[in-house]
Symmetry: C2
Subunit: 290 residues, 2 copies
């Protein structure tokens, strides 16, 4: 791709529809095409006008695209990459917005033709809401986007995709898919699992007394389970290891609480408070918290 | 107490100072006296004008009080009750704002004279902020306050204290201290422990990539460790049992993730999402969420 003329997005959920909508409103002259396999989603996306064209055919969606973005749940990627492989234009860049990156790289390597480029993307944006009706043209504004590359990833394709995410409003970082998946197991997949476990551990009668603390602590568990189960099983080893680590930390606290060892409990809580304070300071300095 | 003429609050932190401040501004003719053992806190409380009088002597603080409210960390209650016992006016109501209620009841029974009344209070208000400088006269507005009573608790004292919390803006519920501590282990103490464990499980380099989900999930862990270690060790058995329950739920998810059993993962996540949705609906109906 010399010039970016068309972006095609597969999947018109919150993320997919926000990408086409932001492109429509800020990237002058770039055509936007969206695909959804559901008639009701296509109707909704058309009504909302989130992309110039909404189609029901994968090959038609990608045929003229300079950039193709997969924005479905992760476990659909393998099948989609297989379906679009023959329809892609030579030189086209394929990416995805999946929250895990090792398997998408592996699938792309296996399924895409040699004359197209794959780079992984993970924009850290979204919410527990779902669907094109929540699409926003400022969803990516100030958000971090991690691009993932392996040794054989084209530097030119990486640079072009980086430019696109910057134009959509993101701050871009680059790392390997392996490092990405290790980090996100800890800071994203694990909080999700922990929030779900916390809610599942309470009975509904107890939960009616829940205050703001509980509501915040459990917020992420309202995310769509199909998206999240894809994320968790495509990052199973890292997530399982993280769960072991959280359980070890819970046991440390439990032991100190049962022993009524105030000093030890305070030390463990103080460590968490200090780490969180450092994190907030870091985010504030980089203006990543609003 | 026939008429409420003086409220004395021991401890001028966020909660204590908010009680005197709200009383000053909304309960006409009720005198407010605050105590702090720290000179710097007394100075700050005087400068901010959160109570009419700020004293450094416990007996002087409570001598003329119709209602005495303990608002220090819980583990100071026993010593304070012992110190004030002889100075209390006959017919005075003693309460506290501690987040656990079984031990405060036990200490009050052991230490207070027969001619004063004890009722437990737990206003579900506050934040991870601490100190009189964050005191607000609307902190209790719309907040739930649980009053705890045992079989021998005076119904008259309970009714009077209930009226006071209603005047401060709370919605009041009444239950036994045992039931209170079982419920709050699950909905408050456990989220705190889980948030701390989650943060302690991550290394600082990973944490710099944390997004809004992690920030929310871990918010409560920024609370003051001295207050929280008191809460946890005074509700040790219930909290320890809750930790076991969370660990069991984490293991269920871990097992399904390792087995890549998408159906099972989705089922566990869907259960959590449904429970949280029901909780939010319940809160919205009762206008407990703003």
């Amino acid at each position: 791709m010399k010039e970016l003329r068309q972006i095609s997005v597969i999947g018109m959920g919150l993320l997919g529809a926000s990408i086409t909508l932001t492109t429509l409103r800020s990237l002058f002259g770039v055509r936007t095409v969206g695909y959804s396999h559901r008639a009701s989603t296509r109707r909704k996306a058309r009504q909302l006008g989130v992309a110039e064209e909404i189609v029901d055919d994968l090959s038609k969606c990608v045929a003229a695209a300079d950039v193709v973005i997969l924005a479905t749940p992760i476990c659909a990627f393998e099948r989609i990459l297989d379906s679009i492989a023959d329809a892609l234009k030579a030189g086209c860049i394929v990416t995805d917005v999946g929250s895990t990156k090792v398997l998408p790289h592996r699938w792309a390597e296996k399924l895409l033709p040699k004359n197209v480029y794959y780079v992984g993307s993970h924009p850290i944006a979204g919410s527990e809401k779902r669907g094109a009706e929540f699409a926003r043209d400022d969803l990516f504004y100030g958000a971090r986007c991690i691009l993932t590359r392996k040794k054989n990833t084209s530097p030119t394709a990486l640079a072009r995709l980086r430019k696109l995410w910057l134009q959509l409003g993101c701050r871009v970082s680059v790392m390997s898919p392996g490092r990405h998946d290790r980090i996100f197991a800890r800071i994203s997949h694990l909080p999700h699992v922990t929030a779900a476990a916390l809610i599942n551990a309470g009975n509904p009668e107890q939960l009616t007394f829940a205050g703001k603390g509980f509501i915040d602590t459990s917020r992420v568990a309202s995310g769509p389970e199909n998206v999240w189960s894809d994320i968790l099983v495509t990052n199973a080893a890292n997530t399982a290891q993280g769960i072991d680590k959280v359980i070890a930390e819970l046991r440390k606290l439990q032991k100190a609480i049962i022993a009524k060892d105030q000093k030890r409990v305070q030390k463990l809580l103080a460590a968490a408070r200090a780490k969180r304070a450092a994190l907030i300071r870091h985010k504030m300095r980089r203006k990543e918290l609003i």
